[in-house]
């Protein structure tokens, strides 16, 4: 953990805001159709400055790359924030939307909605309902005599996740192999290729609102990670705040799943990176996770669409980075978790 005080802390916060923006501008410039940083900046501001711009560059940026960049930032910030929030809510460094089964649950909902021809609102709503039900199921399974240990919660998450995966398999098995199956399969691996302004308009506000709620309540996350009686005796309405935060975190996950499929590992990886920088105080962890999450997804998505001729699924990339990180994390903190 790096100790930050006074001016250094201010600079750190400033970087949290500035770096993702710079990175976003840089990433817009990357891709099959080449353009310089100068082109990007001039074109981005052209609606305000009315500067002369290349028609092709303008269309590439505004119709193809910008919505995708916005989605990457929204999903990255959201998933990282939801992960950090789940970790404190369950007082468990391994709790994330993935490990609790929320992602898999929301995916089941989304697939059912997709197969029944729902529009994006329908997909999001059904994904949300399934996501919330899965969290409740996982917490229910993990409770032994009213108590839930870290190990039990993770085990319950594994069980519920695999249950949901098998439901997904059944859905895939029954899906039309020419039309629906490829869509589902590709979507499950996670991709930001489907980004459009119309889908962003529906999905992004839910993410933004939920992230804001978590941001405002971030200090209370510290209290919620203490024992039940301690949290209560600090005068916090534990039940209500916990429900609000679970709802917000699940909403983020469901929105992300309905817009870009299963993007695994971000919720675990990014908050722990943030903790390495600023310790466990959620007043710092939440903003840092949001910023790191944006940058992480920007990099992953840009690599996914530029490295090869065809796109690499997001989850493939996040897993390649995530799995070794997870192993390192377990080795480092495993003793305290048992």
């Amino acid at each position: 953990m790096i100790k930050l005080e006074g001016n250094k802390k201010k600079i750190f916060y400033l970087l949290l805001i500035v770096l993702p923006i710079f990175l976003a501008v840089y990433c817009i410039g990357q891709g099959r159709y080449p353009m310089t940083l100068h082109d990007v900046v001039v074109t981005l501001f052209s609606p305000f400055t009315e500067a002369q711009t290349d028609e092709k560059i303008f269309r590439t940026i505004f119709n193809m790359r910008l919505p995708r960049i916005i989605l990457a930032m929204g999903a990255g910030a959201g998933l990282a924030c939801a992960g950090a929030s789940f970790q404190s809510l369950f007082a468990n460094p391994l709790a994330t939307p993935d490990t609790l089964g929320v992602t898999a649950g929301a995916s089941v909902g989304a697939i059912i909605a997709l197969l029944s021809g729902q529009n994006l609102i329908g997909v999001q709503f059904i994904a949300l309902v399934f996501g919330v039900s899965t969290v409740l199921l996982t917490t229910f399974v993990s409770k032994v005599r009213g108590k839930s240990s870290i190990t039990m919660l993770v085990l319950a998450g594994v069980i519920v996740s695999s249950l949901m995966s098998s439901v997904i398999s059944i859905l895939k098995y029954t899906a039309d192999p020419y039309d629906d199956l490829p869509t589902i399969t590709y979507w499950l691996m996670g991709s930001l290729a489907g980004a459009s302004y119309s889908s962003l308009l529906l999905g992004l506000p839910l993410i933004v609102i939920s992230v804001l709620i978590i941001f405002i309540l971030r200090w209370r996350l510290n209290i919620l990670s203490l024992s039940e009686d301690e949290a209560k005796s600090s005068g916090l309405n534990v039940k209500r705040i916990r429900m609000i935060l679970i709802a917000a975190s699940t909403m983020i996950t469901a929105s992300c799943v309905s817009m870009c499929g299963q993007v695994s590992w971000v919720g675990l990886l990014v908050p722990h990176m943030a903790r390495m920088f600023c310790g466990n105080d959620n007043r710092m962890v939440i903003p840092t996770s949001i910023s790191f999450g944006m940058m992480f997804m920007l990099i992953i998505d840009t690599v996914s669409r530029t490295l090869w001729a065809s796109e690499i699924p997001i989850s493939v990339l996040t897993s390649i980075i995530g799995a070794p990180f997870f192993i390192a994390l377990l080795r480092k903190t495993g003793k305290e978790m048992a």
Binding site: D229, S233, S234
Partner: protein, 263 residues
């Protein structure tokens, strides 16, 4: 200032654990809850605090029924110090003590300058300001107990409730923690309720004592009156010798366990 009237409680499956308990504590007094392990001391504490609901009877704070006081208001006046245990996420000592300010901070706000100032004072009062940046996970049991006491002070309460604050500590840390509690109460006119299974600590520390015995009886009164040979045999099942010794002009309570009583 704090009162329990005819409190009774039983867990769903079991027999009545607490029956018809009444007691009263004035401002500036310390009350010990004394009894052997597993007798229901912690249950009594939880009932008093409202974590568990009395099946019959009520707790009163300054004449008001505890259940009718809004949660935030209640926890501005009462601070609870649990047994020192580490949580999954290790906070710095400062961040941990800052949590004590929660009842004073509106839900949409973060801790402000005033809260940070009061937190610093609490750390100084307990004498642990120098370790404010250390992580709670790396502290010894005694140090962590002091942190939790500082957290209670940061709340600026009237009543502090401590659950076995000396358990698991070595001799020196026991003294440090108990003296700290005594000092704080005397200087600031707090009231305190302390769970303990050491009769000698109850005698040294508290004005009043309530004991719970296996037969479901309880005794409540001034500590010197309650902690006598007869009650100790009933409560702990041990024959004891109690007297006072004077060492360098200071009077000390002395309690020697003699034998296990065969009732």
């Amino acid at each position: 200032m704090f009162e329990v009237k005819n409190g009774s409680f039983a867990y769903k499956t079991g027999r009545m654990i607490l029956e018809n308990i009444s007691m009263k504590l004035e401002q500036g007094e310390i009350l010990s809850v004394l009894g052997p392990n597993g007798i229901g001391k912690t249950t009594l504490l939880k009932c008093m605090l409202g974590f568990l609901k009395w099946q019959s009877g009520e707790s009163y704070l300054n004449g008001k029924d505890l259940e009718e006081i809004p949660e935030r208001e209640l926890w501005k006046q009462i601070a609870y110090v649990p047994q020192a245990k580490n949580s999954s996420f290790s906070f710095s000592v400062f961040d941990m003590v800052l949590i004590g300010r929660n009842p004073h901070i509106p839900i949409y706000q973060q801790p402000g300058k005033k809260d940070i100032e009061i937190t610093k004072q609490a750390l100084e009062t307990v004498g642990i300001y120098h370790m404010k940046d250390r992580l709670c996970g790396q502290l010894s049991g005694g140090e962590l107990q002091l942190v939790l006491i500082a957290r209670a002070l940061a709340t600026e309460p009237q009543l502090i409730i401590l659950d076995e604050p000396e358990t698991g500590l070595d001799l020196k840390n026991q003294m440090v923690v108990l003296n700290m509690i005594k000092d704080l109460v005397r200087k600031n006119n707090y009231s305190a309720i302390i769970n303990t299974h050491y009769p000698i600590h109850a005698l040294d520390l508290s004005d009043k004592t309530i004991t719970l015995s296996k037969e479901g009886e309880f005794y409540f009164g001034k500590s010197e009156d309650i902690i006598d040979v007869q009650n100790m045999r009933k409560v702990f099942g041990v024959n004891v010798w109690i007297d006072e010794v004077v060492i360098e002009d200071k009077q000390y309570h002395n309690l020697i366990p003699l034998s296990v009583a065969d009732n």
